[in-house]
C-alpha cells in the first residue's frame, strides 16, 4: 500500500513541477503582461495543487494535512486577486511593460 | 563543508555586495535596499554561528537567534524612517537625491 502511495506522491509532485516549469516558460516567452499573468497564475496554481495533493499522504496527521490544504487555498486566493489588480493597473496604463 | 558553511559564505558575500550597492549607488532608495541586503547578510552570519552552536537537542544556539530577531526589527525601524525621510524630501524638493546643491553652502566651505 505504501509503495502505491509513494508512487502516487512522486507522480503528483513531478506533474506539479512540470506545470511550474510550463508557467515559467510562459512567463518568459509570452509577448505582453496580460498573457504572462495568465500563464503564471494558471500554471502555478495547478502546479501547487498537484504538489500538495502529492504530499498529503506523507502528512503526519489530519491537522498537518489541513494546514497543507489551507496553504494551497491561501495561495489560490491571494494569487488570483493580485493578478486581477495587476491586470487592472496594466489596463489603465499604470505599469508599462 | 556542511550546509551552514555554505550559508555563511553566502552571508559574507551578501555583506560585500550590499556594501558595494550602499556606497556606490547614488539613488537613496537603492541605498536603503542595499542596506537591507547587508543586514540580511549579517543576520545570516548570526544564523550560521547559531547553527554551529547547536547542542543539547536544539537545532541551534537560541541566543544569537534571539539577537537576530531583535536586529531585524531594529533594521526595519531604520528602513521605515529612511523611507519616510526620502518621501518627505521628494515632496519638499521634487527630487530624491543626496548630492543636490541644496546644502550648497556646506559644500562650498
Amino acid at each position: 500500500m505504501t509503495i502505491l502511495l509513494n508512487v502516487f506522491t512522486v507522480l503528483a509532485v513531478v506533474a506539479g513541477a512540470f506545470f511550474f516549469l510550463a508557467g515559467t516558460v510562459g512567463l518568459l516567452r509570452f509577448p505582453d503582461t496580460l498573457t504572462r499573468l495568465h500563464a503564471i497564475t494558471k500554471a502555478d496554481n495547478l502546479g501547487l495543487g498537484l504538489i500538495i495533493l502529492g504530499l498529503l499522504p506523507l502528512a503526519s496527521g489530519p491537522i498537518q494535512a489541513l494546514k497543507l490544504i489551507s496553504v494551497w487555498l491561501l495561495v489560490q486566493i491571494s494569487g488570483a486577486i493580485v493578478t486581477q489588480l495587476i491586470a487592472r493597473a496594466v489596463r489603465q496604463g499604470g505599469l508599462q511593460e | 563543508m556542511n550546509a551552514a558553511a555554505w550559508f555563511g559564505v553566502c552571508g559574507a558575500t551578501l555583506v560585500g555586495v550590499g556594501l558595494f550597492g550602499l556606497v556606490t549607488n547614488p539613488e537613496p532608495l537603492r541605498k536603503i535596499l542595499a542596506f537591507n541586503l547587508v543586514g540580511s547578510g549579517v543576520f545570516l552570519m548570526f544564523g550560521v554561528v547559531a547553527k554551529r552552536g547547536a547542542a543539547v537537542g536544539l537545532g541551534g544556539d537560541p541566543v544569537p537567534q534571539a539577537l537576530v530577531i531583535t536586529a531585524i526589527v531594529v533594521a526595519f525601524a531604520a528602513t521605515a524612517m529612511a523611507i519616510a525621510l526620502l518621501l518627505r524630501l521628494f515632496e519638499a524638493t521634487g527630487e530624491a537625491n543626496l548630492d543636490s546643491s541644496l546644502s550648497g553652502d556646506a559644500k562650498r566651505g
Binding site: - | 555583506v15 543586514g39 552570519m45 554561528v49 531583535t70 518627505r88 519638499a92 524638493t93 543626496l98 553652502d105
Partner: protein, 507 residues
C-alpha cells in the same frame, strides 16, 4: 570586591543604575500618551530627578572607590545582561545630566506648546526625543553587553535624526537622510563585529570578553569593523561629511544636544572597546592610525571652520575638529612595554577633553542660536553690534571658545596639559605639535567671530525677537561649567580611574 566576572558579590544599592535608564524611558512612553503640553511638563519634572540620580551614582562610585554593577533579571552573564558603572561612566553620566538640564531650561522658550492648540508637532517631538537621547546615553554609559550597547546606539540614532529636520526645511531633510544613512552603515559594521566576537568567544559581555580575548584573525577583524562603524557614527575625519549640514541645520537646542552629547555616545563605545574589551589587540599601529585620523580631523576641521560664512556651520566644523582631539588620546595611552592600552592619565585627559568639549560646544551652539534668533541671520560678516545687544550671549560664546582653545583655567586646558605631558613622557612629539597647531587654528576662527561681534554697528541693529534672560543664563552657565572644569586638577582623586581594570598610573 569584584568576583571573576567583574560583578560585585551583592548588587548593593546599585538600583540607581536601572533608574537612570528606566525613568527617561517611562517619561517617553507617558508623554506619548498624555500629549504635547504634558510632554514638556514631564520632561521638566524629570530633569532634576535625572540630575539627582546621576549625582547619586557619581557619589556612590567616587566615595565607594569601586564600580557599581547590577545584574538585570537576576541572570548573570554570559546568559544575562549586567549594567556596570565605573569611574568613566559615572563622570560621563554627570556631564550628560548637566548638559541636558541646561539645554532643557534653554529650550523651554523655543519649544512651548502654543495656548490655542492641544498639541503642536515640534514641541511634542522635541521633549520626547530629548528624554530618549538621555536614556540612550545612560544605557551607552552603563551597558555591559555589546548587543545592549548596539540597541542603545540605535535608540540614540533614531532619537537624533528627527531632531535634525525638526523645523522641516528641505535642506535639513536631506542632511537628516544623509546622517541616517551614515548611521545605519556604522551600525551594520558594528553588528558584523559583534557576530564575529560571539562566534569566537560565546559571549558579548564586556568583562568576560576582556578575559577571553586573544589576538586571532576573527578578533582583529571584529575590532577593525566595529571601530570603523563607530567612527562613522562619531563623524571622525574621513567619515565626517554628514555632520556639518546636520548639526548646523537643526534648531538651536537640538544642535546643542547633537554636537555636545550624541557624538560622544559612539566615541564612548570606542573607548570601552579599546580600553576595556581588547586593550592588547590594536597594538602600536592601530593607535597610531586612530591618532593620525584625529590629527587630520583637527587640521581639516579647523581650516574649513575658518572659511565658513555662517556661524552655525563654523561651530559645526569646529565640532569635527574637536572630535579629532578626542582620538589623540589613543596613541598617547599606548604603553609600549606591555604593548597594550594603559588606562592612565591619557585616558583621564581624553575624558576631560570630551566633557569640556560637550559643555563648551553646548554653550556655543546655544549662543549661536540666540544670535540667529536676534539678528534673523547668522552670517558672520553681519554680526556687528551683537556684542552690545546680547552681551551675556557673546560672553558665553567667548568662554566656550576659551575652553576649546585650551586657555587656563578651562577644562580644555587641563586636558591638553595632560595630553602634552603624556606626549612628552612617551616621546611622541608630533602629537604635541598637532595639538598646538589645532589650538592656534581654533583661536583663529574664535577671534574672527568675536572681533566681528564686538565691532559697534554702523546703524542701530533691529532686534528680530526679544531674547529671554534665562536662555542667555543657561548658555552662560554651561560655558562657566566648561571654564571651571580645569579646577578639578586640584582635587585629590581622579574619578575617571575608579574601577579601571589595570592599576591606575598616577599621571
Amino acid at each position: 570586591m569584584l568576583n571573576a566576572a567583574g560583578l560585585p558579590d551583592a548588587t548593593t544599592g546599585s538600583a540607581s543604575l536601572v533608574l537612570s535608564i528606566v525613568l527617561p524611558v517611562a517619561g517617553v512612553v507617558l508623554s506619548l500618551v498624555l500629549g504635547g503640553r504634558q510632554a514638556e511638563r514631564i520632561a521638566l519634572v524629570l530633569l532634576p530627578i535625572g540630575l539627582a540620580i546621576a549625582s547619586v551614582i557619581f557619589v556612590q562610585v567616587t566615595w565607594g572607590g569601586h564600580s557599581l554593577a547590577y545584574i538585570v533579571g537576576d541572570w548573570a552573564p554570559p546568559l544575562g545582561i549586567v549594567l556596570r558603572a565605573d569611574g568613566l561612566s559615572a563622570t560621563m553620566m554627570m556631564m550628560t545630566a548637566v548638559v541636558i538640564c541646561a539645554i532643557g531650561i534653554f529650550a523651554v522658550a523655543d519649544f512651548r506648546t502654543p495656548a490655542d492648540v492641544f498639541e503642536a508637532r515640534a514641541p511634542f517631538a522635541f521633549w520626547i526625543l530629548l528624554l530618549a537621547i538621555w536614556s540612550a546615553m545612560n544605557i551607552v554609559f552603563v551597558g555591559g553587553d555589546l548587543f545592549t550597547l548596539y540597541v542603545a546606539l540605535e535608540l540614540l540614532t533614531f532619537a537624533a535624526v528627527p531632531l535634525v529636520s525638526l523645523d522641516g526645511r528641505a535642506e535639513t531633510l536631506q542632511a537628516a537622510l544623509r546622517y541616517l544613512l551614515f548611521a545605519i552603515l556604522g551600525s551594520v559594521f558594528y553588528l558584523v563585529g559583534a557576530v564575529l566576537l560571539y562566534g569566537t568567544y560565546g559571549t558579548l559581555d564586556i568583562a568576560m570578553l576582556s578575559e577571553r580575548v586573544h589576538a586571532d584573525p576573527a578578533t582583529i577583524a571584529a575590532a577593525a569593523l566595529m571601530t570603523a562603524g563607530l567612527l562613522a557614527k562619531t563623524a571622525l575625519f574621513p567619515l565626517h561629511l554628514w555632520l556639518p549640514p546636520a548639526h548646523a541645520g537643526a534648531p538651536a537646542a537640538a544642535s546643542a544636544v547633537l554636537s555636545a552629547l550624541v557624538v560622544k555616545g559612539s566615541f564612548f563605545l570606542v573607548v570601552r572597546l579599546w580600553f576595556d574589551v581588547m586593550p592588547g589587540i590594536p597594538g602600536a599601529a592601530g593607535t597610531q592610525v586612530l591618532g593620525a585620523l584625529g590629527a587630520a580631523a583637527i587640521v581639516f576641521g579647523n581650516v574649513l571652520a575658518l572659511r565658513q560664512q555662517r556661524l552655525k556651520l563654523l561651530v559645526a566644523y569646529s565640532t569635527v575638529a574637536q572630535i579629532g582631539y578626542l582620538f589623540l588620546m589613543f596613541p598617547l595611552a599606548f604603553n609600549t612595554a606591555s604593548s597594550a592600552l594603559q588606562s592612565g592619565s591619557a585616558l583621564t585627559a581624553g575624558i576631560l577633553q570630551a566633557i569640556s568639549h560637550a559643555t563648551a560646544k553646548g554653550a556655543m551652539f546655544m549662543s549661536a542660536g540666540l544670535m540667529y534668533a536676534a539678528l534673523g541671520h547668522d552670517r558672520i560678516a553681519g554680526l556687528a553690534g551683537i556684542g552690545r545687544l546680547l552681551p551675556m550671549t557673546v560672553f558665553a560664546f567667548a568662554l566656550g571658545g576659551v575652553s576649546l582653545i585650551g586657555l587656563p583655567p578651562s577644562g580644555g586646558f587641563l586636558a591638553k596639559w595632560l595630553l602634552l605631558d603624556a606626549a612628552v613622557v612617551s616621546g611622541q612629539w608630533w602629537w604635541a605639535a598637532i595639538m598646538l597647531a589645532g589650538g592656534l587654528l581654533t583661536s583663529g576662527y574664535m577671534f574672527l567671530v568675536l572681533s566681528r561681534a564686538m565691532t559697534p554697528a554702523l546703524e542701530p541693529v533691529k532686534l528680530h525677537a526679544t531674547i529671554p534672560q534665562y536662555q542667555q543664563a543657561a548658555a552662560l552657565a554651561l560655558a562657566l561649567c566648561s571654564l571651571l572644569l580645569g579646577l578639578v586638577a586640584f582635587s585629590s582623586f581622579d574619578a575617571v580611574q575608579i574601577g579601571r581594570p589595570v592599576a591606575a598610573q598616577v599621571g
